[in-house]
């Protein structure tokens, strides 16, 4: 073998084991994990008055809740919250642990687990979909940043200066405050709400549908090519405003807080970018046209049906008072639902798909005859411009009111209800396609569940009719 063949081999051997790797970290992975863990432990116990935490368990469905928590060196944590009216400070255990990263685990029961209680909250079975194990991200300016990975929630622990602040939760029980009145329609305000967004140069309008049970705003835009600002956001109220999550991303700015303005609207603003939520008299231009679904359901022979009382409860205690009805409509309903001589059980609007005929039926339990009597009023209908127009067309008959005498005699009492249905400006029909759910309240506002522990619910498509003449009135119903 010639010498020249050995030279490359020698060079390869000489340089083969040279250490040319670069140390990106000066510490071992284990040390770095341990350092993160130590930093978190030390920061958790640092503030003498603990932390304020606003936790949105699922910001695609629900608002947020306020917690105050103080971590102690013995592995205990004291906590209070505004999830419900039990605000007493509870002590439980916490752990800083290894999971897929360094995690904070609230390991025994405390207020935060109320959001993981599948037996309560707006959805029996999942509750608020909360979690009690958070992944540690970083510490910045004394705040600790966590991520909840199931719902991708960002959670920030903000140090509190004074423990007196903890009493704040008592004024915000159930995530409510007087600020909610700026967005929650009462019996005197239009149920139509819009959010006007200004990105600094142009304005766009979105319809606002507020769910007071979930403290959640659903946004809808009818504008072609309208900006995508998300489908909605949850709210967490305090005494002066509401923090929202996810923030509204508009014109490069992220708006995360609404506060009332001088006009009585809710305003979020940053520089020349703003979003304003307003009650709107009349049908907003951004209201979606859902009449195709209305026509489809009518063509399938379905009526629009809404329940008022339980059949099984004739003593007058078991009426349905649905939160999806507007407060104004529930007030109207109270006026006609219970009288000395009858109880109103349900209302149904039947529309003939092959003509312009419709009928409105009120099923009553009549105490003088001890039987169910249905009174019927005849209508004509027309569907146009996103609206359903109904016109009174006389007294109808039923099997239990064969001559229409009862309908005639009771017409004056039912006139407010007839006025709702037959307003000349029409009824706005809306559906999100969701199934029908009774939010059942007895007179004391407590929830009533069926034998399985769930609120009554049906898979039928649900919808609402809102009077343009009296926009405080919105009726919730199912197609059945």
């Amino acid at each position: 073998m010639k010498t020249r063949y050995y030279i490359p081999l020698i060079l390869i051997a000489a340089f083969a084991c040279q250490n040319r790797t670069t140390n990106l970290f000066t510490e071992t992975p284990t040390q770095r994990w341990e350092d993160k863990e130590t930093a978190l432990r030390e920061q958790l116990i640092a503030p003498a008055a603990g932390y304020k935490v606003l936790y949105f368990p699922n910001n695609q469905k629900y608002g947020g809740f306020l917690f105050y928590m103080k971590f102690n060196t013995d592995g205990t944590v004291q906590m209070t919250s505004n999830v419900d009216n039990e605000t007493a400070v509870l002590t439980s255990s916490y752990e800083v642990q290894f999971g897929s990263t360094v995690e904070l685990n609230f390991s025994s029961y405390n207020h935060i687990h109320k959001l993981s209680d599948s037996g309560s909250g707006p959805n029996i079975g999942t509750g608020y979909e909360g979690n009690s194990t958070f992944q540690y991200q970083r510490i910045q300016d004394g705040k600790i940043y966590f991520k909840e990975y199931r719902r991708n929630a960002d959670i920030v622990f903000e140090p509190v200066a004074d423990m007196a602040e903890w009493d704040t939760v008592k004024q915000l029980i159930g995530n409510t405050s007087p600020i909610e009145s700026y967005i929650r329609p009462d019996g005197t305000k239009s149920v139509f709400q819009i959010m006007t967004v200004n990105n600094g140069s142009t304005s766009e309008e979105y319809s606002v549908v507020y769910d007071p049970e979930r403290k959640y705003v659903r946004l809808e835009s009818n504008a072609e090519g309208g900006s995508d600002i998300g489908s909605g956001f949850g709210l967490a109220y305090d005494q002066t405003g509401a923090t929202i999550s996810p923030p509204l991303e508009i014109g490069g700015a992220a708006l995360s807080r609404f506060e009332p303005d001088a006009n009585g609207d809710l305003l979020a603003a940053s520089g020349n970018v703003s979003a304003r939520i307003t009650f709107y008299d009349g049908l907003p231009s951004s209201a979606l046209d859902k009449t195709a679904i209305l026509r489809e359901e009518i063509a399938s022979g379905r009526s629009l049906f809404t329940g008022v009382y339980y059949y099984s409860d004739l003593n007058g205690q078991g009426y349905y008072e649905n939160n999806f009805n507007s407060l104004g409509f529930n007030t109207l309903l109270r006026g006609v639902r219970s009288r000395r001589d009858y109880i109103l059980f349900n209302i149904s609007l039947t529309v003939n798909p092959s003509s312009n005929a419709a009928s409105l039926s009120f099923e009553r339990y009549d105490f003088s005859s001890n039987q169910f009597i249905t009174i019927v009023y005849l209508l004509t209908y027309e569907i146009k411009d996103k609206l359903l127009f109904l016109t009174f067309d006389g007294i109808g008959i039923s099997g239990s009111d064969p001559n229409g005498d009862q309908a005639k005699n009771l017409q004056a009492r039912f006139q407010p209800m007839l006025d709702f249905f037959t307003g000349p400006k029409g009824l706005y029909f809306y559906t999100s396609g969701q199934s029908y759910r009774f939010i059942v309240n007895r007179a004391d506002d407590t929830l009533v569940y069926d034998n399985n522990g769930r609120g009554a619910s049906y898979t039928n498509i649900a919808g609402t009719l809102t009077s343009i003449d009296q926009p405080t009135l919105r009726m919730y119903f199912l197609f059945g």
Binding site: T3, T30, S93, N105, Y109, G127, N131
Partner: protein, 290 residues
């Protein structure tokens, strides 16, 4: 010569190139949490872990539960009463029958969860056994020691799941499945209890398969007095259903005697007596008004 020199140099470099210059391993840097030292941990160790090799997990560990469900840990003050209930209604009655059975055959881990475990069908799972090794108890926070029905619901879990473990160790006769062979169905949750009994099943869940049927029979027998159990059977209208359930009862009793030397009726009395005792001990004191 030159060639030998080059080979020597090359070989020497190869030999030296892999010299071990790493530092020796030192003490582990992984921090392991210290063993529990609370009064509750001491109780668990002396009551379950040391005598029976059974661990108890009562703090929230999402790796021990179904991550798809919304669950929370029990309140600390609810843990010991729940474990005492398990001890008095499961460990002690079995121990009285066969001294070392729980030590020999038992789940290795009991997991306690505070709230309800809802299924998509709307039903509630009271407990889950995994491979005979782990039993999870749900709604520990809702356990009401003064209420016999609440105690029965809670203890039914372990009586049911322990039956599975016993069956995995010693299977019951295949003939059991032939008593009501056509009644098993996956949609058991749509069946009312009264209807299940008229079909020869002690509970709706019994209708899932013969394994659950057998476990439900045992759990029902061990949470009802003999008289109450007889009343359940005698209250059934269908003679065929009564006969089927009595046949199942006899096969269950035979299985316990033959395979484990246990008189299930003595076990039944011990468990139901203990249920009554616990409920009585925890009954609220009547408030005296002057």
């Amino acid at each position: 010569m030159k060639r030998d020199l080059l080979i020597s140099i090359f070989g020497g470099m190869l030999l030296l190139s892999c010299t071990n210059r790493e530092t020796a391993l030192t003490e582990s840097q992984i921090v392991t949490p210290p063993a529990g030292t609370t009064e509750l941990d001491t109780y668990i160790n002396s009551t379950f872990t040391a005598p029976y090799n059974i661990g108890v997990s009562y703090t929230f560990n999402e790796y021990e539960i179904d991550i798809g469900r919304t669950l929370y840990p029990p309140s600390i003050d609810k843990v010991r009463p729940a474990l005492e209930t398990i001890r008095r209604l499961w460990v002690e009655p079995y121990n009285a029958q066969v001294g070392d059975l729980i030590r020999r055959i038992s789940p290795r881990l009991l997991v306690l969860v505070g709230g309800y475990n809802y299924n998509p069908s709307g039903t509630i799972t009271l407990g889950v056994a995994e491979a005979g090794v782990k039993i999870t108890f749900f709604n520990v926070n809702q356990l009401d020691l003064s209420n016999s029905a609440s105690l029965v619901r809670f203890i039914q879990t372990i009586q049911h799941e322990y039956t599975h473990i016993l069956n995995q160790t010693k299977p019951f006769p295949a003939a059991y499945k032939q008593i009501t062979p056509s009644g098993y169905k996956s949609t058991w949750y749509n069946v009312r209890e009264a209807d299940a009994r008229e079909d020869g099943f002690i509970t709706p869940y019994s209708e899932l398969n013969e394994l659950e049927d057998f476990a439900e029979m045992v759990a029902t027998m061990l949470t009802n007095t003999k008289a109450d159990f007889d009343n359940i059977i005698n209250g059934i209208t269908s003679d065929a259903a009564k006969t089927a359930l009595r046949t199942k009862e006899n096969m269950v009793a035979d299985y316990f005697v033959v395979e484990y030397g246990i008189d299930i009726y003595e076990l039944q009395k011990a468990v139901t007596d203990a249920i009554a005792e616990i409920a009585s001990e925890n009954a609220p004191n009547p408030t005296l008004t002057p």
